[in-house]
């Protein structure tokens, strides 16, 4: 009797224990899945908010290139044509956009068009000067408010005073849709233009170039210095307190918050050395100092992975230590070093805070062409657009995030490729 109770107890205890075991395993599994679910949700959010930014809305506008309105003649020189009164043509086109518009209506209609329309009308004419004195149907960019409405990003059912477009403008847009005078096409502006106050003509080209210049600076500075530092620490450094100090320094620098590097850039590079503000040169220098520990750590690991027999072989046939290291060890460690560098660059690409500190947050409406020109950078551009109150910038920020993520993905893919292709297992 006693025996069977004890047996039962043991069995139930064992059941309880194995249940506990199952539950614990399940907790771990859930935690892992939750983390990955957040990743999926994050990517989904970005994609669903951002994909609309790759399209823009254009409107069919009938433009009358009347020579009197333009104050041009068919045989005007190119220079005169530049000075044609295109704003008058545009005004006329908008006045006749719908039949019988009153003055107040015209104002409303005007707000359906982008600020860029003047330029588009002009460019069309300059490309086809023969259209003078004819009426042309051309597609011009719509205002961001119209664009957002048609993409479904802003809602119709909120009260009129909280909407960007009032009821009359909504009816105009509906009419345009009905008459097929509005359509959505690929948004080339997003890839060819720099930042703008107007969402419909804002693009990432400027900040993309800024990021490229910054990364170039980071690479130029950090790659040689990192190789030098790791070769010294791995191969030449005597075991003494100075070497130890350097090593402690490097591992501590790796954990210093990035914003502190920004303060370093502001306090030293800008204020003491007087380097130009907001430029990729300064941004790149700060990020280079920041990524240096990452690259050094990767570089030392790959130097360590080269078997000592290689070096010893070189020494045995009479090479000096410098020759053995630079002719034999470093070339073998190079793929690993490059991989580490690319990962460091990827980290630098996404870094925002230090760039804000050194002024790369300024509004730069043109595409930079050099290292010492003020420019934006992709992550800072995203920040500016996220913070912007204008609704049209939200999809832009998500789309810019897509651009930066693709860029990051490519860099990591290259790093993995290099590692798999060139790294030797000894």
């Amino acid at each position: 009797m006693n025996n069977s109770i004890a047996k039962e107890k043991i069995i139930s205890l064992r059941k309880k224990r194995s249940l506990e075991d199952m539950r614990f395993k399940y907790y771990g599994f859930t935690a892992m899945c939750l983390s990955l679910a957040v990743l999926v949700f994050l990517l989904y959010t970005i994609f669903s908010k951002g994909y609309t930014a790759f399209q823009k809305t254009i409107v069919l506008l009938e433009v009358d290139y009347n020579q009197e309105v333009l104050k041009l003649t068919p045989d005007s020189s190119d220079e005169d044509m530049e000075k044609g009164k295109f704003f008058r043509v545009k005004k006329q086109a908008i006045e006749n956009f719908f039949p019988d518009l009153s003055k107040s209506d015209i104002k409303l209609v005007k707000k359906l068009f982008s600020i860029n329309v003047d330029k588009e009308i002009k460019d069309y004419f300059l490309d086809n000067p023969e259209v003078i004195n004819t009426k042309q149907q051309i597609w011009v960019t719509a205002h961001s408010d119209v664009d957002q409405l048609l993409k479904g990003n802003s809602r119709r059912d909120v009260p009129e005073d909280r909407r960007k477009l009032n009821d009359i403008q909504l009816s105009y847009v509906d009419q345009l849709v009905e008459e097929n005078r509005v359509k959505q096409v690929f948004n080339n502006f997003f890839f060819t233009k720099a930042d703008s106050r107007h969402p419909e003509i804002a693009g990432v080209a400027g900040s993309f170039m800024g990021s490229l210049f910054t990364l170039f600076t980071v690479f130029i500075l950090s790659f040689p210095i990192a190789i030098g530092a790791s070769v010294y620490l791995e191969e030449f450094a005597p075991k003494n307190r100075i070497t130890e100090l350097i090593e402690v320094n490097i591992s501590n620098l790796a954990a210093v918050p990035s914003i502190v590097f920004g303060l370093l850039g502001l306090g030293v590079l800008l204020n003491v050395f007087g380097l130009p503000r907001s430029t990729p040169l300064v941004g790149g220098s700060v990020l280079a100092l920041m990524t240096l520990p990452t690259i050094i750590i990767a570089c030392r690991a790959s130097l360590k992975a080269v078997p000592p027999s290689i070096k010893e072989g070189a020494l045995a046939v009479g090479a000096t230590k410098t020759q053995a290291v630079f002719h034999h060890v470093v070339p073998l460690a190079l793929p690993g070093t490059l991989t580490g560098t690319i990962i460091g660059l990827a980290q630098a690409l996404g870094e925002t805070a230090p760039l804000i500190m050194i002024g790369m947050i300024a509004f730069i409406p043109n595409i930079p062409t050099g290292l010492t020109e003020p420019s934006a950078a992709l992550p800072v551009q995203i920040y500016l657009w996220v913070e912007s109150a204008e609704r049209g910038f939200q999809e832009k920020s998500a789309a810019a995030i897509m651009v930066i993520l693709i860029f990051l993905f490519m860099m990591n893919a290259i790093a993995v490729f290099l590692r798999n292709r060139f790294e030797r297992k000894w």
Binding site: D21, F24, K25, G28, T320, K321, A398
Partner: protein, 457 residues
């Protein structure tokens, strides 16, 4: 200007290399002896003597030219008596006029004079820059060419130089640290000259509004950073509440339960999570999580603000999950297999082994990992800038708006930077606090992890 000088230097070193090579060959032929080192080493020797002095000139010019010119212009400026000048604005104006003659209209005659002075100085500087680069390269090559004799051990010398270069490279890390410490301390001292350090550390009022222009009426700024520290702490606690359990459980699952295949898939995915730029998390917090938190708060009757500590902290927690999980994974994996086997051998099941044997054994390492994660959470900027708000608020309610150290640094530096204004300088004082705390956490964490590693080695 600096681009063409780089081209100049490149041409210089190329020709010096060729020159060195041919010269040593010629010299050894003349003397009829073989040179002690290969000709390339002599060429490298000439090249180094040509390149490094030129680079020093180049960088010192790049760094100091503008400042020296500005100082000369300002010291020669004809001040009108009675007028008040702001030196920074004045300089900007002079520069604008000098770079862009069309801005000269309507400017006073002193400014136009100063602008022409400025441009003439720039021209002089440019000419002397090019000449000094050429001269210094020639001098370097001349000095080196005297040594180009067959009995000269070029290789030894080159290897010594290489050593110096390598030492310089590795000391960049030390220079960086020194630069950080000095710039933070220097500007903080200027800040504490105006604001008492006790007020900064212990007062609870943070109103850094100081009249920027004369005559503007505003209250005296007050710089009590306690609400900022409290906000940072609150966000960090929320982040750790999310990241610690998720990260640790994920690590346990991956290290102890998951099959090799699952590990191979999940680990890179977690690395993706770790590699996403923080501004992207900021966007996510702002667009998805903050509205959700607000709606959730309303549904349980709490009035949540659109940007809250909870939203920022939760997303920050997600950001540090991979950090905690990969560190803890390493730590758990380095617990000796014998401990595991002993526990399983006396009949404990896996969960019991983990809870009663592995986790206690790995505890120091895990604590170290958590400390590193905390230091990262404190130093994180973009998520909180976008999603936590900028108004200081001394509260323990995570649904409310709080601000953090990093946010205040950004806010203080994002607009006009006036370095005679405690508002701007406060950023450096906050940065110093941030630096000291993260450094402290880091050193402790690394010590703990190191000791832990040694125990099982």
């Amino acid at each position: 200007m600096f681009f063409w000088s780089l081209v100049l230097i490149a041409v210089g070193i190329f020709s010096s290399f060729i020159y060195g090579r041919s010269r040593i060959k010629l010299n050894s032929k003349k003397q009829g002896t073989k040179s002690k080192s290969l000709p390339n080493y002599y060429a490298q020797y000439v090249l180094m003597w040509c390149l490094f002095p030129a680079l020093i000139v180049y960088f010192s010019w790049a760094i100091f030219q503008e400042q020296i010119i500005q100082n000369i212009v300002i010291s020669n400026f004809e001040y009108i008596e009675g007028a008040v000048y702001n030196e920074g604005l004045l300089l900007a104006e002079i520069r604008n006029v000098a770079n862009n003659p069309s801005f000269a209209d309507g400017k006073s005659i002193e400014i136009i004079n100063a602008a022409s002075h400025y441009s003439s100085l720039r021209q002089i500087s440019q000419i002397s820059f090019y000449t000094s680069i050429i001269i210094i390269m020639l001098l370097g090559a001349l000095y080196a060419s005297q040594k180009l004799k067959p009995e000269f051990h070029a290789q030894h010398t080159i290897e010594k130089y290489i050593q110096y270069i390598l030492i310089f490279c590795s000391s960049v890390a030390i220079f960086t640290t020194i630069g950080i410490v000095f710039s933070l301390i220097f500007e903080s001292l200027r800040f504490f000259a105006e604001v008492s350090i006790f007020e900064f550390l212990f007062s609870t009022e943070w109103y850094p509004f100081i009249p920027i222009r004369e005559g503007q009426t505003a209250a005296e700024g007050s710089f009590g950073a306690v609400p900022i520290f409290a906000g940072t702490f609150l966000v960090m606690v929320v982040a750790m509440c999310v990241a610690a359990p998720l990260g640790l459980l994920t690590a346990i699952y991956l290290a102890e339960y998951a099959s090799q295949r699952v590990r191979k898939i999940v680990k890179p995915l977690l690395e993706i999570l770790a590699g996403i730029p923080t501004i992207v998390y900021g966007f996510f917090a702002f667009v998805s999580v903050a509205p959700f938190v607000k709606a959730f708060g309303q549904s349980i009757g709490i009035d949540a603000s659109p940007t809250s500590a909870l939203a920022a902290g939760m997303v920050m927690g997600v950001m540090i999950i991979p950090f905690i999980s990969s560190l803890s994974d390493d730590v758990i994996n380095s617990v000796p297999q014998s401990l595991r086997e002993a526990s399983l051998g006396i009949g404990a099941n896996k969960a019991e082994t983990i809870k009663k044997v592995i986790l206690p054994a790995a505890l120091p390492g895990i604590v170290g990992a958590f400390l590193l994660a905390i230091s990262r959470a404190i130093g994180e900027t973009m998520i909180v800038v976008v999603a936590a708000g900028t108004a200081p608020n001394l509260t323990g309610n995570p649904f409310e708006n709080v601000t953090t150290v990093t946010v205040q640094i950004v806010v203080a530096l994002i607009g006009d930077q006036e370095f005679d204004n405690p508002r701007t300088l406060s950023a450096f004082a906050l940065g110093l606090v941030l630096f000291v705390i993260t450094l402290f956490l880091n050193i402790i964490a690394l010590q703990i992890v190191k000791r832990y590693r040694e125990r099982y080695e």
